[in-house]
Each structure stands twice: as C-alpha cells, then as structure tokens.
Symmetry: C2
Subunit: 254 residues, 2 copies
C-alpha cells in the first residue's frame, strides 16, 4: 500500500452553512484555460473534493481534502451516499477539462458524498484556497446561496441535491437544527431556519402551535431587548428533555 | 468506459434470512489449494461479493453479483455502509489467497456493503453455486446460523457485524419485521423474531404489553387450530394504520 492517489475513488463534501438568514453551501471554482495561455474557456463551481490516497480510509480522506481545499478543520462529516453512475463524468466540458489537466477522461471514478451543517459565523475560510493547487482547481472557496447556483462541474448539482434531500429528512427526525441557532432563539428565528432548509414558507400560526407542543423546546421567561418591533419571547432547546422523550416515543418494540 | 472489472471497487451482500425459528445469513465457501494440487490449505466463509464492472453502478453490480453467485434474483438490496480501511485485506491468509488466484495483494479495494432481509421459505438457492467460477471461490451458497459462524475471509466478519447493527436499529424504527412473518402470526412468533434479531431474551409480560400498545398490530378474532398446547390468538400488521400513526408521531416540526 502506498500514499498515491487512487484514481478510481474520490470524496466530495457538501458543507451547508447558516448565517441566521439563509442557507449556503461551500463551493470552489474550477477553471479551464486555453493550452499554454491565460484565456479562460470556461469557469464553473465544484464541491470541495478530490481523490483519496491509497493509505487512508474515506472518512480520513474527506477531512484531509476539506481542510486542504478550504481551511475548515475538525468539522463533523457524515457519509450520506455513494455516487457510482458510470456516466457521471461524461459531460463534454468535464471530459475536456479532465483531458486538459492530464487525466484519462475514461477512468471510472466513484465518489462518496459527505455532509455537514454548520453555523457560519464560527468558521473562517482560507483567503485564497489551497495555494499548492494549480490554477485550474480549488480556488476561491466561498459560501454560495443555495438558490443562486448555476453551472456546476460533473454530477455535483445532483450530489448537492441529494445532500439537501438528506438534510430535509434529517431535520424532521433529529434535533440537528438547534446547532445552528444561538442558545436563546425566538420563534421567528427557528421558523426561518425550517423555511430556508425546506425551501418553502410555513404557516405562522400552525408553526407556533407545533412549537408549543415540542416539550424539548422550552419557553423562557425572557424577551428580546432593544429591538424596534414588539420584543419576542426567547426559547431554548433542552437536550435532556429531548433524550427522555425520544425513549418514550420509540415506535416499535424493545 | 468498458465492461472490465474495476480492481479497486467491490460490493459485498449481507443477506439475512428468517425461517420462523432462527436468523441466518447467506455465505459462500472460499478454498485455497496447494499450487497444482488438490490438497486443501484452508477453507473459510465469505459474503457473496465481487468486483464491480466499469459500466455498472454499485446497485446494479450488487444485484448481478448476488444472482451470479447464489441464484437469488430481484431481492430488495439496500446499501448500508462502505468499508474503506486501507488494511482490510492485510490478513496473511487473505494475502496468500489473493496471490494464489493471481491478484496483486497490494491493490487497494474498498467495498460497498448491501443488506437484505428475506423470509427463507420463499427463495431457493442454486444447488452448486456458480459453475462458471473456479473452485477457489463462490461454491456452496448456504444459509448459516448467525451464532455458529467461525472463520470468515477478509473483513467480512466486521461487515456482517455492521449489517447486524444496522438491522437492529432498523427493526426499532421501521416495520420491516412484518415482512418475515406469515400474514397471521401469534405473539410468540413476533417475540421470537425480535429475540433472534436482537440476540437476547425479552420479558414475555412486558413484550405483550408493548404489543398491545401498537395500534398497527391488530388483534384478530381467531385462534390457532389443531395445536397440542392452548391455542394462541392471531395478530396481523395493518400498513394503513401504521402510515397514519407515523404521520401523527412525526417528532419535529413540519
């Protein structure tokens, strides 16, 4: 076994970030220049990803690659799917790009998709991406608003969509959403978070009723201060209550 | 792209079967003979698995390989994990076997684990395994009782264990268990099924109480006939009731 890159196996990371306003995803730029020149043929966006090394497992590779490309470190990454369509690199512009960077465009590559969901303000990106990477890949790691992404490389639009579906299912069954909110949050803040992830507007009265029924979302005797509008009540998430309720709700037989 | 086998990527299938008594898993034999001779050096057990072809995705490969090796066709297969430890083939006997069959034992192989759970009586295995395979692999597909398996190839014991954990979590959150029971079943039958999957004895009174609380397990006005012991009541699973209850129970906010 050696440390060479494995040409058949890669990982791609879908890192969702929330800034208390909108849902964003972390993307890099991919460039294709004319041979020998600086003229740009095209530019599009990719997920942070690359080939694994032969001496690392998929989880290790995902952490290394995310760090090398974006500077993000020690993020909880979860493998959510493997993308193995034999035609996933067959788009003509992808074939052209692979040939231009010296790869065999016919090489079969499957990729493991990794997922994370982080509060944006806590993390800082590398200013210039990975300086050891040539100009054609991995530049300008930036947070992109989900509804404004056009032109992605390979099957990355499909991988991103699959991760979004995974996220939508996850917020319905696990309390991951509270990791994105401040310790004390208002009902509007949690509703906005559900809305941006689900990609639709929710009825306010209905939402408040459901929120009131969640025993693990505790209403605090405390309101916003120094706001122009009527101050809203604060809530907090109680993991203790959540864990106890979860045990009681177990649907099938133990 | 071609139809050659991809040396870096394989799939392995963990097919659990239940015969109303015990939980079994479908395994094949792997043999190592002395070079040129018929003397057996060792024999152990493997999951049905092989390398994918470059023109098929992982799901297609899993279906093909399971069919070729065991004769099982049209089984619902679910990918449950990918095994990518760089040292997963490093056991000396595995290295010896790989060299003997003409492979480079240093080649990095990651494998996607597929899972299924089927009622045993419905399916028939090939009598002799795959006749196109040489003697060293894929012979004698047989159902093995889970608690009596020794000596598995590669990291297959770990893959099997991981699949069993996956199954144990699944039966707690999804009604998959009813696919293994006859349409009408007794409380003892469903308790035995939970016990063999969980690998522990459950308290009978407690279990009956929980069973009575599951609205989607409907008690029938009908009892066993022609049995020596006191005839037991029959139950059935109502998918309609289950689907309605599931909607009501949604833990977080919709």
């Amino acid at each position: 076994m050696n440390t060479a890159f494995n040409e058949n196996i890669s990982v791609d990371c879908v890192i969702f970030g929330y800034d208390l306003k909108s849902l964003k995803v972390l993307l890099l730029e991919r460039h294709l220049h004319k041979a020998g020149g600086k003229d740009l043929i095209f530019k599009d966006l990719t997920l942070p990803g690359n080939h694994i090394r032969n001496n690392e497992d998929l989880d290790t590779a995902a952490q290394r690659i995310l760090f090398e490309l974006t500077g993000l470190n020690d993020i909880y990454l979860e493998q959510f799917a493997v993308f193995s369509d034999p035609n996933r690199l067959d788009n003509p512009k992808d074939q052209q790009w692979l040939a231009a960077i010296g790869k065999d465009p016919q090489t079969r590559v499957i990729t493991a998709g990794y997922f994370s969901l982080i509060p944006l303000e806590k993390y800082y990106l590398k200013q210039n991406g990975n300086d050891t990477m040539p100009d054609w890949y991995g530049k300008n790691p930036r947070w992109h608003q989900l509804d404004r992404i056009a032109n992605m490389a390979f099957d990355h639009a499909r991988i991103l969509d699959s991760a979004l579906q995974f996220l939508r299912e996850k917020i319905m069954s696990k309390p991951v959403i509270f990791e994105l909110l401040p310790e004390k949050f208002t009902a509007s803040q949690i509703q906005n978070l559900y809305e941006v992830i689900l990609g639709k507007t929710l009825d306010k009265r209905n939402f408040r009723k459901k929120l009131a029924n969640l025993e693990f979302v505790v209403s605090l005797n405390e309101k916003q201060m120094g706001v122009a509008h009527t101050p809203a009540r604060y809530y907090m998430f109680s993991r203790d209550v959540y864990e106890r309720k979860k045990k009681e709700k177990f649907t099938l037989i133990t």
